[in-house]
Symmetry: C2
Subunit: 462 residues, 2 copies
């Protein structure tokens, strides 16, 4: 079966067999059927458990052999010593996609690695493919489908996640990333490239995120990733960088992490954006989903504190972003409102402009509009405190502008303790503005967007 069809069966199954489903339900039961029903999955579910006639009111089957049809996907969630024979039964039944949940294979020791290899061999003998072992399986918010043995949140975000761990299923601080997710676990068989092939052509996915410990088939990965990055951004969090991380990764996903700079070079070559940590991953997902995908190197900054201007200038040097002079038109418009002693520069001391007589709303509108129309500027960063009345003035004007100027990204850093998050939430409700946790993070995310835009341009020039 080709990768696209295979992953389609895993991520969009019309029917699923849950093998080794526990009898109990409720917290700590790890009853995947309960979770599937709570999520509202509408496909057919076949619970398999030889020890009880029904679970949660659904008739169980003693064995996969007894199922009335061949489901798209089998999820085998038994202790690991039972997995091999159940994989064999499933494959014999004709099931082509088989997820093995248990740990204790290549992640445990060489013995476990052998057992893992046997499982794959048996599956392949029948033309079946193995997801995992050591996997949460798959999730697809668009179908309310999720095989994780925990009630993990899903949102219909256009993010496709391929991960050698279940942790992205839980989401990250500030973001549920699981629109669709494929946990390839120990990656004994189904791998990154299979997932990438599927996401390349998936219209529900605008961005692909990877959690990588080790990639086995580097050449195929690069070829596939290159096809995806031509169409949508691929972001990779690669862990297991050094000796210590490599040791842990081998006991986690059984991965060989490889030499870190080889990954750096490979990602770069195929246009995959490598991020340093989970926060950068989330920042970049939010930026790509919310902000228009224009060139963004030339940043215009409006700030209520010039300390923010100094810090943003530092960040721009660090991340190779530009703070060009505003065009004459912009300077003229702002100068008409500003106090005479103010140098109208970029970053613009909007605090001084605001307190100059025209009233802050008018001052903000004039400055923001001028910068959004300035041909020397690609993207705008606004720095404001979470204080009344400043943040309300900026919010209102920014919301108005976001509706009128859809083509230039607008990012914010709100630097007070906006404890209830309401200003940030209002701004982000437009789907066009992102508030970042710090100036460094804002500039970093914009610079990565610029990098991706430049990569795509270069590709198109070739």
């Amino acid at each position: 079966m080709d990768s696209v069809s295979l992953v389609k069966q895993i991520l969009e199954p019309r029917s699923v067999a849950l093998v080794g489903l526990p009898r109990d339900a409720g917290p700590e039961s790890r009853n995947v059927m309960e979770y599937l029903l709570r999520h509202g999955y509408e496909g057919r579910i076949f619970p398999v458990n030889p020890n009880c006639p029904e679970i949660l009111g659904v008739k169980t089957y003693c064995s996969v052999r007894d199922l009335p049809e061949t489901p798209d996907l089998a999820v085998i969630a038994t202790p690991q010593h039972l997995a091999l024979s159940l994989v064999q039964e499933s494959a014999e039944k004709g099931i082509k996609a088989i997820a093995v949940v248990a740990q204790g294979f290549a992640d445990a020791d060489a013995e476990g690695g052998k057992r893992q290899q046997e499982i794959v061999s048996v599956a392949h003998r029948y033309g079946a493919r193995v997801l995992g072992p050591n996997t949460f399986g798959a999730a697809n918010a668009f179908l309310n489908f999720n095989t994780a043995f925990a009630l993990t949140p899903m949102r219909r975000v256009p993010i496709g996640m391929i991960c050698q761990s279940g942790f992205p299923f839980a989401g990250f601080p500030r973001m549920v990333v699981v629109g669709k997710a494929l946990d390839i676990g120990n990656t004994s068989d189904v791998d990154f490239s299979d997932g990438l092939e599927y996401f390349a052509g998936d219209d529900q996915t605008r961005l692909v995120a990877l959690y990588v410990e080790g990639i086995r088939d580097g050449r195929r990965f690069m070829e596939t990733a290159q096809r995806v990055t031509a169409r949508k951004p691929v972001i990779a969090l690669k862990a297991g960088k050094g000796v210590s991380g490599a040791r842990v990764a081998s006991s986690h996903s059984g991965s060989l992490t490889g030499v870190d700079r080889v990954y750096d070079a490979a990602f770069k070559q195929c246009g995959v954006l490598r991020v340093e940590d989970t926060e950068e991953l989330v920042d970049l997902c939010r930026a790509f989903l919310a902000l228009p995908k224009s060139r963004v190197r030339r940043l215009g900054v409006l700030t209520m504190t010039m300390a923010g201007g100094t810090m943003v200038a530092d960040a721009c040097e660090k991340y190779n972003m530009k703070l060009p002079a505003f065009s004459e038109d912009t300077v003229r418009k702002v100068a008409a409102l500003a106090p005479p002693w103010l140098r109208i520069g970029n970053p613009l001391d909007q605090g001084a402009v605001n307190f100059s007589g025209a009233g802050p709303r008018k001052a903000i509108r004039v400055s923001l509009e001028a910068v959004l129309e300035d041909p020397a500027i690609d993207a705008v960063l606004v720095i404001i405190p979470a204080l009344e009345p400043e943040h309300r003035n900026f919010r209102d004007v920014a919301l108005e502008m976001a509706a009128r100027y859809g083509e230039k990204p607008v990012a914010f850093w709100i630097y007070g303790p906006d404890f209830d998050g309401s200003t940030a939430a209002d701004l982000e409700s437009t789907g066009r503005i992102v508030n970042f946790g710090s100036l460094d993070r804002a500039v970093r995310a914009l610079s990565r967007m610029a990098k991706y835009a430049e990569y795509v341009e270069t590709r198109n020039d070739e």
Copy 2:
């Protein structure tokens, strides 16, 4: 007047003259008296405004000359062209601490620089000292005192902030840092060293934070800082690192930013912890205030996802933290509950231990207690999803442990979208546990704590 007495008059004034106080109140009025009254300041306030007999029901004075007493502090918040004569009047009246709020001095141009110098000269002629110009003034949450011309939040956190900008008065995402804050603005006279002398001996301050663009008197700064760091941590956010940042800083605080690596070396020599951005500043403040100040280099990790283990190992290599093997006792205690295939390592796959029969609460208690008692481990980092029931189990056990084991820092990374923040809030309500935004940030903060502890030890050895 010595620095301590001077800064005491600024931060703990028994009386304050507000010169150039606007008649209006309410949002956008910048009426500092209104804010002082709302904060609940109990000192005497003398509003000075020649154009109206009373403001907010308080009798105004036409001039500083008419005040019935000599207040500890004068805050001159007029347009800048009026500042010089009002500083002179205040100094003639005998006021020794004079804050000048207006922008447009050394921050604007050479002309402004000269005017700034005149102000200082006039003040010094009368034995007075100048805070700013271009300053929010001072804030002291312990006295409900705050001269910022915006209603900025204060909390009685034991943080003393000295800043060349008013922005820290607004606070940061996740934290109000203003216990006491001194905005030295353009730093024409009162400078970092004056503030440091005060905070060195101030019992309400356990930690000093600096926002620096440029330090003029390097030698005095280093001598003073060294005295402070022997007693409490000093954290510095130094901005204006490169060419572009230097340009902005000069138009912000009129500072010469200097060569960045000179600051690096100077901070290092006097034990000042330099942070990269506002997030690290907040992380470090939270860590120092909440966590016991022990050595923390040898980290023990309990994690619900071994991906977290891999990422934390990467972070430990990056920040020179250690992940030593657990002692035999710990391994034995955990192994008694763990599945046989599990290698009991550090990081510990607590997910595997939890799902092994004893029940997650018991498993968490056994592991956490063992690691907290393990002599090979200095500090504990716990990695959990914001999912039921895991985070509740960990929270309950961690709260219990925090009460029993006060001497080892316990940090968390909660990696799901804990949208309401309740788990983190519960954990942090102990005042002994900190939840960080990412593993990188958790390890970075702990490593900076370790660095400080080692610095103090070295000093004590000398």
